[in-house]
Symmetry: C2
């Protein structure tokens, strides 16, 4: 092994992705690049909001509201109270500090700046060392078909609280979307590619489906690992298992492994799911079991260290449960 | 006299205009229409802000921060703190609730709605009975020439705190601006036209200069009164006397009366300025003296009542000092 820090590329969605990124960013032996999800992006009150990217920025800068896992700590809803008074539809909880960021992003987008450059500048202003890059600077929006028709992801997730059954998922704008050079470059120069315990269908898929991204990922021969977003068939947060069941898939780590298929060579699942390992191995995917819940800062660090050890040594470190 | 309520049209700028409007709106014998100033309007962080109109709305809905005379009570600056963190220029104090209103207005303007219609809807949502109308739906911006070059009014007023000497004032956009039908209609149907104790040069002029407005005002034969914004040669608030001195004018009630000239038939000045009355009368303008400071709610009401009495009876009521 050389002493050169490893380039780790993390494909990450919402809260689970941000937690994994947090564990990795404290590791001084790697250079971390996060390829985030823009599929949840949407316009609210004429402002462009990028929920997953914002959650990542707030988490890595410790501005996050830890209790919620999203939004900004010590924020308030005064702007929203006036919008509501003015008759605007305010089901999307946008805090005042949060609005400051959306106002900034929107103004720069209107000026013609690339979303990637704006994100880079926001991350810098928030003191984040990891690179946060976007799969595309074009608009690609996740839409969910339900009994109520096609909903944007935030309509499904926030307004409808994931209640309606999901019949189909699509990503609008894919036909014309181009990948960013940052994403293609990060994929080709990564030493390890890691898929965070994010929802595969609505957080990771919108990244993979941007033309050129999946192809680039398949071309590289580095180690590619995924961490299961399901523990005992349940998502730690969000609607992953509901969506899997709705779509007629197996809502467990096997379903996750099947979904990624030959994109990954290794999956990390929770100890409680260890009996699923043999079945996953029949898919040609190596399995390691450990505690993947990440309920506090030291667990995030420990999981990050185990994954990095595994990537280098093809085994978990001594003492990690498996 | 009939019992039909009088149509009172108030030409009003910032804080002084809002105080006068407040005194008038409590009077049940009149129908109040306020023709506001849009010359201070400007874009901040990509949002369209209309300071004088907002001050009017916040004042008449009792949302105003009474201590400041502008802005919203119980507001905070969380959005601005993030904009500042992101490197934006945040000399313009915009509160969080205030941002909610600017976001709403900007979204509707981008959709193509008329500024007049947006203002009407905001006033309605804020429970304001008086009509607030705009002189134009086009952008007409007050620019102030100083040693630092041409500044927008907010740059001069807020950023530079009225420090630089004013060499010239212009209103950009006048050439193509059209008056609103609401303004022309309100002028032609008014029973009394009142000019609030606002800055004549930067609050009232931008209204008068919109093509068609001054002509319409001169065509009507109703009583036209102005209240002096200067007491003992000083503005109660804002840079009126500084600007007058800079422009080589007489910074007192005589200067104000000369400025309005034959547009008004009557001016109301403060008791402390009573010795100026003979000189003002030589201009062909009738003068009445009373206490015009309006430092509290009952003084606002009392002044409004006296003015309405004066408009009907061509004299101040018994007991008013003069």
């Amino acid at each position: 092994m050389t002493n050169k820090p490893l380039n780790v590329l993390l494909l990450a969605g919402g809260v689970g992705g941000a937690k994994m990124a947090e564990g990795l960013q404290s590791n001084s032996n790697i250079v971390l690049t996060i390829l985030g999800n823009i599929g949840d992006d949407d316009s609210f009150h004429g402002l462009w909001v990028s929920p997953d990217i914002d959650t990542m920025i707030y988490t890595l800068s410790e501005e996050i509201n830890r209790k919620q896992g999203w939004g900004v700590r010590e924020d308030d809803y005064k702007a929203l109270s006036f919008l509501s008074k003015l008759g605007a539809d305010t089901w999307m909880s946008l805090g005042d500090k949060d609005f400051g960021l959306h106002i900034y992003r929107t103004e720069r987008l209107r000026r013609g700046d690339r979303a990637s450059d704006i994100t880079k500048d926001i991350a810098k202003a928030f003191g984040i060392e990891a690179r946060i890059i976007l799969p595309s600077d074009d608009i690609v929006q996740t839409k969910v078909l339900t009994d109520k028709g096609w909903l944007t992801f935030q309509e499904y997730f926030v307004k409808e609280r994931c209640d309606p059954e999901v019949k189909e998922i699509k990503f609008e704008g894919l036909e014309v979307a181009k990948p960013t050079y940052e994403a293609l470059d990060a994929i080709s120069t990564a030493d390890i590619i890691l898929i965070a315990p994010s929802n595969p269908f609505v957080s990771i898929s919108p990244i993979l489906k941007i033309p050129g991204i999946l192809e680039a990922l398949k071309e590289t021969s580095v180690k590619k690992l995924a961490v299961s977003p399901l523990i005992n068939g349940k998502a730690v947060k969000g609607p992953a298992e509901k969506i899997m069941t709705s779509l007629g898939m197996q809502a467990d780590a096997i379903g996750i492994a099947s979904f990624y298929g030959d994109l990954i060579d290794t999956i990390i699942i929770d100890n409680v799911d260890s009996e699923l390992s043999p079945k996953i191995r029949t898919l040609g995917i190596e399995v390691f079991c450990t505690d993947i819940l990440m309920s506090n800062s030291s667990e995030k660090k420990r999981l990050a260290e185990e994954i990095l050890f595994l990537a280098k040594n093809n085994n978990l470190p001594e003492g990690a449960e498996r």
